[in-house]
């Protein structure tokens, strides 16, 4: 009666996403809701059957058959979607829904371009991507963003409306538009990754899943022959993999952030590091440089260093010198100043940081405490103390506050 077959991890989630993409092609983006309902119904039917009878021999084929039947029935009821009919040469042709591996991959890519369409706000792009391409529920998205289900739902409704009203097509854009939209897709994936990577927001488990989902989406792109050697894509993949490798080491047991110099490097995920380095290697044969590539290279210098002090700071400073030409934001300048302190010493670094101070948009305790570090290195304890006292009220967590308070005490003694 029951089989002992087990489902692959995230089976329901990833199948949900695959089937939505495939079916939407037949329903058109106008009726995307209907496509999503059909997939939801399909999963419900699977639950109601499988919980009693066990997992079938080929659960994937089971879902595709049920989804296909439901979709065909609904399409017939719709009187055949006009868009679809117009696209066929022979209108009397019976509908058949294809679920081949190639078709699924293709439709998921198309869906990615749809979800990242510029007619949708950035935050709604992320929500729609998570819902449609990652199979997350509004509740799960809300938990990841420390937001409410209602807010997320509203964003999804608005996003779908924008797709309808702007008559967005499910097909790949033409070559010229493709190039531009490809960069938007990468940007959305990177934002999604950063949502997951930020320590301060959401639950740890779901956050890590966001990181892995972003990597998975980028890998879907990478699987496509047209995008495989795309420099920005390889740079982004390398960056996400290398950064994700440090995920577990960045937070202590109480959920407090641990900064790079203090991380236990044995907790870094070697498998992810190696996968990241492979993408970097792929880039080394190309002459194009992207922000992702530079950031990934910096991340790689950290990943391969035995400890913080023996990091190749010369290499890192070189990268920041290149990066600052593309992106001269305060954060880049701040990180460059740290690299300067490692290569040329604290004095020039202090100079850079003081130049930067007025550009820091919001009070940032790490800026003040880093500056204090530099002053201590040049034996200017008075200036260091002043900086630490500025940093104290800017801390966000108890641990940060304690760390700074301890250093103030130490500083007063010397």
């Amino acid at each position: 009666m029951t089989s002992t077959k087990a489902l692959a991890e995230h089976f329901f989630r990833s199948e949900y996403a695959k089937i939505v993409s495939v079916i939407t092609r037949y329903f058109g983006l106008q009726k995307m809701n209907q496509a999503e309902d059909i997939v939801q119904d399909t999963l419900m039917e699977a639950i109601n059957t499988w919980e009693f009878k066990g997992i079938p021999e080929n659960p994937q084929a089971w879902l595709y058959t049920v989804a296909k039947n439901k979709a065909i029935n609904a399409l017939k009821k719709n009187g055949y979607d006009t868009n679809y009919r117009n696209s066929l040469d022979n209108t009397s042709q019976e509908i058949d829904i294809e679920f081949s591996e190639g078709q699924i991959a293709d439709d998921q890519l198309k869906m990615m371009f749809v979800c990242c369409h510029s007619s949708i706000s950035q935050e709604a792009q992320i929500c729609l991507t998570l819902k449609t391409l990652c199979g997350l529920s509004t509740d799960e998205i809300a938990r990841a963003f420390l937001s409410s289900s209602e807010t997320i739902n509203k964003r999804l409704v608005r996003a779908r409306r924008a797709l309808r009203e702007n008559n967005i097509s499910f097909d790949f854009p033409d070559t010229k538009a493709l190039k531009e939209r490809f960069e938007t897709v990468l940007k959305t994936i990177f934002l999604l990754f950063n949502e997951g990577y930020s320590v301060s927001k959401g639950e740890k488990l779901i956050n890590y899943e966001l990181c892995l989902e972003s990597i998975r989406l980028a890998e879907l792109l990478h699987d496509h022959k047209d995008f495989q050697h795309h420099p920005s894509l390889n740079g982004l993949l390398a960056l996400m993999l290398l950064n994700a490798s440090r995920f577990d080491a960045r937070v202590d047991k109480t959920g407090q952030m641990i900064l790079l110099p203090d991380q236990d490097r044995s907790l870094w995920n070697e498998q992810l590091i190696n996968r990241g380095l492979i993408h970097l290697k792929e880039l080394s044969s190309q002459n194009v440089i992207s922000t992702y590539h530079i950031l990934a290279t910096i991340s790689a210098y950290h990943c391969i260093a035995k400890d913080y002090e023996s990091t190749d700071w010369n290499g890192i400073l070189n990268m920041y010198d290149t990066l600052i030409k593309i992106d001269s934001s305060p954060l880049v300048k701040f990180n460059r100043a740290i690299a300067i302190s490692k290569v040329d010493g604290a004095k020039p670094a202090i100079k850079e940081l003081l130049k930067l101070e007025s550009q820091i948009p919001t009070p940032y305790y790490l800026f003040q405490s880093t500056l204090a570090d530099m002053y201590i290195k040049v034996n200017n304890h008075k200036a260091a103390l002043m900086r630490l006292e500025k940093a104290l009220p800017q801390t966000n967590t108890e641990l940060e506050r304690k760390t700074i308070a301890n250093r103030i005490t130490l500083c007063k003694k010397s």
Partner: protein, 118 residues
């Protein structure tokens, strides 16, 4: 050993509100629960039921068939169980992990036997 039927009523549509991930966890744990009871020889059968069907009513010569399309309380499946007494079944049913995922109603009915004759 005595025989029991347990009718599982679905209450509301809380299952559709779960995420695919939670739905998968539901299938896996309920499946494992049933499988364990089968292995222990306590579960003779477990079947899901379609939510619609046909009702036949009346007397011979005057029978009506009407679609069965109850929308509120509806039996979504049943367990056929073997146990020493109803208390044992109550404990088994209370251990059904489906209750972790929202409200359910399960009705336990002993298969009737008359002492001394059956």
């Amino acid at each position: 050993m005595k025989e029991f039927m347990a009718f599982i009523y679905t209450e509301g549509d809380h299952m559709t509100e779960m995420s695919p991930k939670e739905q998968q966890q539901h299938v896996e744990k309920v499946g494992a629960y049933i499988q364990e009871l089968v292995q222990e020889g306590k579960m003779k059968g477990a079947q899901p039921l379609e939510l619609s069907g046909i009702t036949i009513s009346g007397t011979k010569g005057n029978l009506h068939d009407a679609p069965f399309n109850e929308s509120k309380e509806i039996i979504g499946g049943y367990y056929h169980l073997l146990a020493n007494d109803i208390n044992e079944v109550v404990d088994l049913i209370k251990g059904d992990p489906r209750f972790e995922d929202g409200p359910w109603k399960i009705e336990i009915r002993p298969v009737r036997v008359v002492d001394g004759i059956n």
